[in-house]
């Protein structure tokens, strides 16, 4: 078993009076693919967003390669460069071309020379079938293409971990596959991946482990086999009976 790359200990997050995360502790090992499932409002997105500090947890710790990243002295920007995130609504930058979307962060924050950044970006765009769109603006892209661009934009920073928050939920059905194919390929490349998804079939296929998050806690976790064929907790059983 490889060493953990990302760990949380008793992670808590409130929005005003609303307790959204009520103490989440989990170890993510290097190269592991972890799916997060659970009912709406259960705190899945909030958990994921805490992991790259888009939300600042109220209590608890997050360790990245053994280092506590909730420590105020840590440079958040630097940390985030190692953690890629893909959002439900793509959030590609409309004021830049496809290529510029991808090269922006590497050239600005990692000082990668423009030529090299462009080469690497083109290689990534080719991998997801967007090379011919490099000089287009995102408004010309379909939803599926935008999401593939968003994935490439994150990959361009060569992150250690990728976080996906319902990457296909905002897509028309015919585009879900092209995006899942890209993510599937990524899961085979040995990258550490956390993915919140309602695509149960996909979760079952690609995950090493499944977390069922409900009411701000991990109610149940296990291999896809365990969770999908013989769940123990009543909440899990109820949730799965509704979505499957």
């Amino acid at each position: 078993m490889t060493e953990p790359i990302l760990q949380t200990r008793n992670l808590k997050k409130n929005f005003g009076k609303l307790e959204v995360l009520k103490g989440i502790s989990v170890d993510i090992r290097k190269g592991e693919v972890v799916s997060i499932i659970g009912p709406s409002g259960g705190g899945k997105s909030t958990f994921l967003r805490c992991l790259n500090l888009l939300e600042i947890p109220d209590e608890g710790q997050i360790f990245y390669q053994g280092q506590d990243i909730t420590d105020k002295k840590l440079k958040i920007t630097k940390y985030r460069q190692g953690i890629g995130m893909v959002f439900q609504h793509f959030n590609v930058f409309p004021n830049m071309t496809v290529l510029e979307n991808v090269t922006l962060a590497p050239t600005l924050e990692k000082k990668v020379p423009a030529e090299q950044a462009k080469e690497e970006a083109m290689a990534l765009l080719t991998r997801v079938g967007l090379a011919d769109k490099a000089d287009e603006y995102p408004r010309k892209l379909s939803g599926g293409q935008k999401q593939r661009l968003a994935i490439v934009r994150a990959l361009a920073m060569k992150p250690e971990v990728m976080l996906f928050d319902e990457p296909t939920s905002a897509l028309d059905p015919e585009m879900v596959k092209e995006v899942l194919n890209v993510i599937r390929e990524l899961t085979r490349s040995g990258m550490t991946i956390l993915i919140v998804t309602h695509e149960m079939g996909f979760a079952r296929e690609v995950s090493d482990r499944v977390l069922f998050i409900c009411d701000g806690v991990i109610k149940e976790e296990g291999t896809p086999e365990q969770i999908f064929t013989c769940p123990h907790e009543p909440e899990t059983i109820k949730f799965l009976s509704m979505v499957l």
């Binding site: 967003r49 924050e109 934009r153």
Partner: protein, 219 residues
């Protein structure tokens, strides 16, 4: 009517120089006001409580007192504060710019606020510094919301500069006063000034609409 024409034929250079004065004073006012307004807007959106309190108060005071009072205040106070010589015009332009900055900072804040929250998150998630998030991702998109409102502010400023004629700074209303005291035809010389203001603002608001449409297309 023929008196108006006669006045125009004799005094049009005075009016034109006044028009020129109004235009450059407005342009400088909006330009300086936009730069100062940007600083104020960024501070007001930051999380530093003390600075934020100061700029909030700054904006409230400028919005809550008459502009004519502000012009007098700068005209009296500014020469006493700065260590170098200031002309009346410079004092007045400074006052107009500071006044405009209060309104422009609101415009900028609203423009930035209208950018999708997801853009901030995406920009942060790829590890951009807060400065780069702002300058590379948010502001370029906010400009679309800001520019039309800024043109509106320019039009408002064109009208606002007329107050500066109290100090004879050489804009259009100063021209009116000059012509009026030379001809003793108060109404006619005023009508000419009014027509020039109207024509100017008519052209400007047309121009604004063209700009707005351009921005829409590039969406």
């Amino acid at each position: 009517m023929d008196k108006i024409i006669k006045i125009w034929l004799k005094y049009y250079p005075v009016y034109l120089s006044g028009l020129w004065g109004t235009l450059w004073i407005s342009a400088v006012t909006v330009l300086l006001g936009a730069m100062l307004g940007m600083v104020v807007a960024l501070i007001r959106m930051s999380h530093t409580k003390v600075l934020k309190g100061i700029t909030d108060l700054f904006v409230e005071i400028l919005r809550g007192t008459p502009i004519l009072l502000q012009l007098y205040f700068f005209w009296i106070a500014l020469p006493k504060i700065v260590p170098f010589e200031l002309s009346d015009t410079q004092c007045i332009v400074a006052a107009l710019a500071v006044n405009a900055s209060a309104f422009i900072s609101e415009i900028i804040r609203a423009g930035i606020g209208a950018v999708d929250k997801g853009q901030w998150e995406a920009a942060r998630s790829i590890g951009l510094s807060e400065t780069h998030v702002m300058t590379r991702v948010i502001l370029p998109q906010a400009v679309k919301n800001i520019l039309p409102a800024l043109c509106n502010e320019f039009i408002a400023t064109v009208k606002g500069t007329s107050l500066a004629s109290v100090f004879f700074v050489g804009e259009l209303m100063t021209s009116y006063k000059t012509v009026q005291s030379a001809t003793f035809l108060a109404l006619q010389s005023l009508v000419i000034a009014g027509m020039i203001y109207f024509a100017l603002n008519y052209v400007l608001s047309r121009l604004l609409r063209v700009i707005e449409r351009r921005l829409m297309v590039s969406d």
